[in-house]
Symmetry: C2
Subunit: 236 residues, 2 copies
């Protein structure tokens, strides 16, 4: 069965966490909005729907009659269908807990460049963004990344659940990749503290389906409209 | 079976969304940290664990051998066990999607008073907090609350899923209650735009288990350490 993914066509953003899961699974999917403006119109129309399960924001995924919103919810669904999550209830709850913690981290990364609000330009909140980025790297990044490093140490293998890759591992790859893009100087200094996360990143990047995806034009390059943005002033 | 809830003892915070579900369900639970300092020590020790399923942050819930973290994940679990969620997969995914959208809203409410970072005092980020609160009420609150108002209109009944209360309805009660506490002036002006949400709030407050809970000392009063904080400077 084919999935339809609805997400903004010019950024990785939160949609990328879903794309990585679909690619790893080798699932048939259409990235609807990348087919042209009619895709974006269709997406906005679905979000404005007064029946069904409209999303507050993209990404959302159409799977048969289901339309599923919220990134972590989509990954919960896909993980169960494509062997990217454990089969037991306890295992699925734990994986989802980690996925939701990644969602929190991603929201905080976004706020490093937009601490005041999404309707204002970065340039109009640059001073607050500098403060928030400083705080993020002093307090939050070490706490979050240290947490995942500890989870990997406890797993005793390459991935959070052992030797089998999960949606969370794919998402952690994206977090490391994104932080490297957005904060190259800070990450270069910080990476020695998270060797297991870096090894996970490299291991995910080498997986055949992911490697093929990253080399394709389906992978949108990082840019300054997404979550992970590179601004020199924030990377000191 | 008795649940053990681990959360900070002096605030409603994110723990309150779990407390409301447990209270509505009439579930037996211990609010561990409210039993004294040894509870907080136990909580911190569990968060630092190198085995099992340690949480990045409270709340987390112990249910038999399971230890479940992340508010929405806990509610997903409790909803399924206590009839506070639909039984079908599609119904559960939709409810969880709404729950995760509430989690996003709650994080944005928190950032109205802490836009720069949690390790700094409000007083040290007051100017940015004023800007963020203004932005929140100009853009974000109307968008989020308008979305839930639309979901309630589509449901055609008192609650998001029809006539049966769910974890999401309990959480929406808390959102309205919290916004009234934190932003009384702004909410007084805004409430006429969200009549269905206000009606839902009142209906939840009247439910016997919830009414008893709200009148008890188990309900911690709102204060300026939680998510919903009242600062006059932000409520104009």
């Amino acid at each position: 069965m084919r999935y339809d993914l609805y997400y903004w066509p010019t950024i990785q953003g939160r949609g990328e966490f879903v794309r990585l899961a679909l690619e790893e699974a080798g699932a048939a999917y259409v990235d609807v909005c990348r087919r042209g403006d009619s895709g974006v119109s269709a997406m906005l129309k679905m979000m404005a729907a007064t029946t069904g399960t409209p999303s507050f924001a993209p990404p959302f995924l159409k799977s048969g009659k289901l339309v599923i919103g919220q990134t972590a919810n989509i990954l919960f669904y896909l993980g169960g269908r494509h062997g990217l999550a454990p089969a037991t209830e306890s295992g699925r709850l734990w994986l989802h807990q980690l996925q939701l913690t990644i969602a929190d981290l991603v929201a905080e990364v976004h706020d490093t460049h937009h601490p005041i609000g999404v309707s204002l330009y970065y340039e109009d909140q640059k001073s607050a963004a500098k403060q928030r980025s400083k705080e993020f790297w002093a307090e939050r990044a070490p706490k979050y990344l240290g947490y995942f490093e500890r989870v990997l140490a406890a797993s005793g293998a390459a991935f959070v659940n052992g030797r089998k890759v999960s949606t969370v591992d794919l998402s952690l790859f994206q977090v490391v990749d994104g932080l490297r893009y957005a904060f190259p100087k800070r990450m270069a200094k910080f990476e020695r503290k998270i060797p297991k996360l870096i090894a996970l990143h490299d291991k995910v990047a080498e997986r055949p389906n992911i490697a093929a995806y990253l080399a394709s034009d389906r992978r949108i390059p990082f840019n300054e409209d997404g979550i992970f943005r590179h601004y020199k002033a924030l990377d000191r």
